[in-house]
């Protein structure tokens, strides 16, 4: 049974929210300013609640089950985070309150900047970017401005391994650079020879994901960093995979100049069906003046033991500028702060250790059933190939859809691009052994089904709210809005 559209529920005159009677004198509104018609639903509160509750039941979610979605770090989102973000003092705080009226919020942001810098070994952090992609963009703009500030105008290229996420090359183009792809070697690492050949005085920097998108820690990471630094370039680390690194290694200490964090991955802020994210950037000494702003600084040190310092919003001197209105996704900062405070030093280390343990456990348990290219100790995720020798026309997608029938969310499909029929599996630290074993058994069962009754996979899912969709039809007969096109002027 499909859920009707909200526009198709209700009847004329209904309204789902009450409003007070106007308690001031009415001012006539000039009729030429007023719109002809407003085509919105007319539904009661109960109809709205039932409609969206029924829609919610059509979703898979972390609260419902295991989400081994590689590169997305779908860990449990602790409920207390939500309560903290909804405290009136945060949720009802106007962004243009003067610094004096926002000391609590500024103290929280300052502390989070410090904690994130400590976790990754950087000199300073800006919380301004609204999401990982914006953090990347900020990072590349900082590299650009750094070179221009030194009067170096010939650096036009950014190097990117071919295993990179699509945002990396898109970011490079957006910032006005040319993306140059580097091949991987037989071991899944950056090909050092190709890297050294590409390094010259036209290279502005390199973007690299650590561990890489195969889930592998680069075997020669220090050589990679040095090669780029030696030609005058800066190193950008995509921090999407920080869940594999906390307490294990600090990117700043490896020589990286800039990195973005994904608070919605590593620091447990909820994905919300696609956002909001939050993508702070951390930088080494060289890039501190270029950080996107504003950042929170201490304007007056504490005088006595009991006194708190005075915090202020500041624009760094050579800042690349504002990335959005106001100060980043503050609600996400509150959640990440809560998460770090509850976990503390030991908890943060344990997150990475258990995430990596879980990924390696699944990898080893599935290595006899599925082909795993580059099969060595992985980080928090690994990639296997979703096809079988001797079985025609079974793809990673079919395995994914069949997993739904068993109550699991599928792994990431077809990424990274350098592995055929890629299925990227990231269990996170949230799951216990029983859940992992259940997933492993199911993956083995599906492999058996692929040999015995492959149509079962090809026609999956069988138990989801809908079957496979006609995506070609969606793109060709574009229906993006359910209402008739209103009258337009111009």
């Amino acid at each position: 049974m499909s859920e009707p559209l909200i526009y198709d529920i209700g009847s004329p005159g209904r309204q789902g929210a009450t409003l007070p009677v106007c308690d001031v004198p009415i001012t006539p509104i000039p009729s030429e300013l007023v719109r002809a018609n407003l085509d919105l639903p007319e539904v009661s509160e109960l109809q709205v609640v039932r409609h969206f509750t029924r829609l919610s039941s059509l979703n898979y979610s972390i609260d419902k089950g295991f989400y081994p979605l590689g590169s997305c770090t779908m860990k449990y989102n602790p409920k207390v985070n939500e309560d903290m973000a909804r405290l009136a003092g945060f949720a009802q705080l106007h962004p243009l309150v003067d610094n004096e009226g926002a000391q609590g919020a500024l103290a929280l942001m300052y502390q989070l900047q410090q904690w994130l810098a400590e976790i990754s070994g950087f000199k300073a952090v800006s919380l301004a970017p609204a999401a990982g992609a914006q953090g990347e963009f900020a990072g590349i703009l900082m590299i650009r401005k750094y070179h221009l500030d030194r009067g170096d105008t010939k650096r036009t290229k950014i190097l990117i391994p071919n295993s990179a996420h699509g945002t990396n090359p898109a970011t490079v183009t957006m910032a006005g650079f040319v993306a140059v792809e580097l091949p991987a070697d037989a071991n899944g690492d950056v090909d050092l020879k190709a890297l050294r050949e590409a390094c010259d005085d036209t290279v502005a920097g390199m973007m690299i994901t650590v561990p890489n998108t195969l889930g592998l820690f680069e075997s020669h990471i220090l050589e990679v960093v040095n090669a780029v630094h030696d030609c005058g370039g800066l190193m950008y680390m995509d921090g999407a995979n920080m869940n594999a690194l906390m307490g294990v290694v600090k990117p700043g200490e490896l020589g990286f100049d800039v990195m973005h964090y994904n608070l919605h991955k590593t620091f447990s802020t909820p994905h919300g069906g696609g956002g909001p994210g939050s993508g702070p950037v951390g930088v080494g000494e060289k890039l501190v003046p270029f950080l996107p702003g504003p950042v929170v600084t201490i304007s007056e040190e504490a005088t006595g033991d009991e006194e708190a310092p005075l915090y202020a919003m500041t624009m760094p001197p050579k800042s690349i500028g504002r990335l959005k209105a106001f100060y980043g996704n503050f609600g996400m900062h509150v959640r990440a702060f809560t998460y770090i405070a509850i976990n503390g030093d030991q908890g943060i280390k344990d997150i990475t250790r258990h995430a990596v343990l879980n990924a390696n456990y699944i990898r080893v348990k599935l290595q006899d059933t599925y082909k795993i290219p580059y099969n060595r100790a992985c980080g928090h995720e690994f990639v296997l190939e979703g096809h079988f020798e001797g079985v025609e026309n079974i793809h990673a997608l079919d395995i994914s859809k069949r997993l739904m029938d068993y109550g699991f969310h599928p792994p990431t499909n077809y990424f990274p691009l350098i592995v055929p029929e890629a299925l990227m599996i990231e269990p996170t630290e949230s799951e216990d052994k029983a859940t992992l074993d259940g997933f492993i058994d199911t993956m083995k069962k599906i492999a058996a089904e692929a040999h015995e009754n492959p149509d079962l996979l090809r026609s999956a899912p069988h138990t989801a709210p809908v079957s496979r969709l006609d995506e070609v039809r969606a793109a060709k007969q574009l229906v993006l809005c359910c209402r008739p096109i209103p009258e337009q002027g111009g």
């Binding site: 503050f330 030093d345 100790a377």
Partner: protein, 432 residues
């Protein structure tokens, strides 16, 4: 588990990390219990001057509006909150249909043919509109015209986004009005953008603007307050090509500036050029109506360095919030709340204008924000208002030097007559 993997300790799994840098000291505080963290954060939250304790007359891009109770209950559901991007449509129909309904309602509000699933906020939506306009001009038109009456932060974000590209930004360095902006149109112009109502709350006469912009071969981009569209003529009626804005007034809490909702709507001809996620209707294999992310080849994960934007996320939960808000308010509630804002703002403006030394700018019609020339520096006035539990308007002189001693006051349905009268009395006291 370790035995199955074939190692003796978890630490053995990290051999690939250079030993010189492996397992550094982590200087973080000891773990706290949920009870302790709640106490600590509650204290931090209460250190802020928030709307629970203050009467808010501050807007300038973030507005204090009523949020119906049902909204918070629905949005907090784990099925929405903890779901990923709907790349697997068979088990994401809840998110997908909600986005489709959001897109439909944004089309209704703006009078456009299509809307995407959202950008980060109003400012970044405008920056993305610039990219679309430059593409629509086939890369040959490299100039854009921005009204100085667009939110200064939005204009700053456009400059941040496009600093790596060859782009000339005209119009916003001085005090240009709409007719001055029209004068700047030429065959190099890709777009002209104005805010409606503008940053000062005023409703400019835009009736002939689209015709002139189109005659020059450029696109008309409107930056709008969606709540005002409950009452005001739609951007579609005004001939806009692209409509962007901040969706925060649609049920999203102030939250110190984020997360908010950047909406983006446009005419059909630009749909294939816009960035970000878009949800479309289709059928499943059994012929049932269903929804799916569509036009995917525009996006960065497929198009890589040829993509026009790197955006991956949308403000999923915020677009859901707006969809629920628009459903609860509906056709009639949206009109009523906009009217309440209008009447209360006009009452406040009238009362303040009666005060000796205060002058309200009534040169143009306004919606729920207005400019007041003050007899004393705005910072001084605000310091006095804070003592009375009132958050006054922002100081316009900071971004507009010619508006020194001018305050931008916002009034919404949340401000009772008693609150407005208290503001007027407090302002009166500052000059006695």
């Amino acid at each position: 588990m370790l035995a199955a993997i074939g190692v003796t300790t978890i630490e053995d799994l990290f051999d690939a990390v250079p030993s010189s840098h492996r397992f550094p000291k982590l200087d973080l505080p000891a773990p706290l219990s949920e009870m302790e963290v709640t106490a600590e954060l509650s204290a931090m939250a209460e250190a802020n001057d928030h709307a629970g304790d203050f009467a808010i007359f501050r807007g300038a891009g973030a507005y204090h509006h009523f949020i119906p109770s049902a909204l918070g209950h629905i949005v907090s559901r784990g099925e929405f909150l903890t779901a990923y991007t709907p790349y697997q449509p068979e088990i994401s129909q809840g998110t997908l249909q909600a986005i489709f309904e959001y897109q439909s309602m944004m089309c209704s509000l703006t009078g456009m043919d299509a809307a995407n699933a959202s950008h980060y906020d109003g400012a970044t939506s405008l920056a993305e509109a610039v990219t679309v306009a430059l593409e629509a001009g086939r890369g040959k038109r490299k100039k854009i015209i921005l009204s100085p009456a667009i939110n200064p932060q939005y204009r700053a974000v456009v400059r941040t986004y496009h600093q790596g590209r060859e782009l000339k930004i005209a119009g916003d360095s001085g005090r240009a009005d709409i007719s001055d902006l029209v004068e700047m149109l030429d065959d190099q112009t890709a777009m002209l953008a104005v805010q409606y109502p503008n940053y000062f709350g005023q409703i400019d006469d835009l009736n002939k603007l689209a015709e002139k912009v189109h005659a020059a071969g450029a696109l008309l981009v409107l930056v709008v307050n969606p709540l005002a569209l409950g009452l005001l003529k739609s951007p579609g009626e005004l001939g806009a090509d692209i409509v962007v804005g901040e969706g925060q007034p649609l049920g999203i809490s102030l939250s110190f500036g984020g997360p908010y909702l950047g909406f983006f709507a446009c005419r059909t001809e630009y749909v294939r050029k816009i960035a970000g996620r878009i949800v479309g209707e289709t059928l499943d294999q059994d012929g049932r109506r269903a929804f799916v992310m569509t036009l995917r080849p525009r996006e960065q994960d497929i198009r890589r360095d040829k993509a026009s934007s790197n955006i991956c996320t949308n403000q999923g939960l915020m677009s859901l919030t707006a969809a629920i808000y628009l459903s609860l308010m509906g056709k009639h509630g949206m009109r009523k709340v906009a009217e309440l804002c209008y009447h209360k703002a006009h009452y406040a403006a009238h009362q303040i204008d009666l005060l000796l030394g205060f002058r309200v700018d009534t040169s143009k019609p306004f919606f729920h924000e207005f400019v007041v020339k003050c007899p004393r520096p705005v910072a001084e006035l605000n310091a006095l208002l804070v003592e009375k539990g009132i958050l006054g308007g922002i100081d316009l002189g900071v971004d507009y030097p010619h508006l020194k001693d001018h305050m931008l006051i916002a009034v919404t349905e949340m401000n009772s007559k008693a609150e407005i009268d208290a503001l007027v009395d407090a302002l009166k006291e500052t000059i006695q």
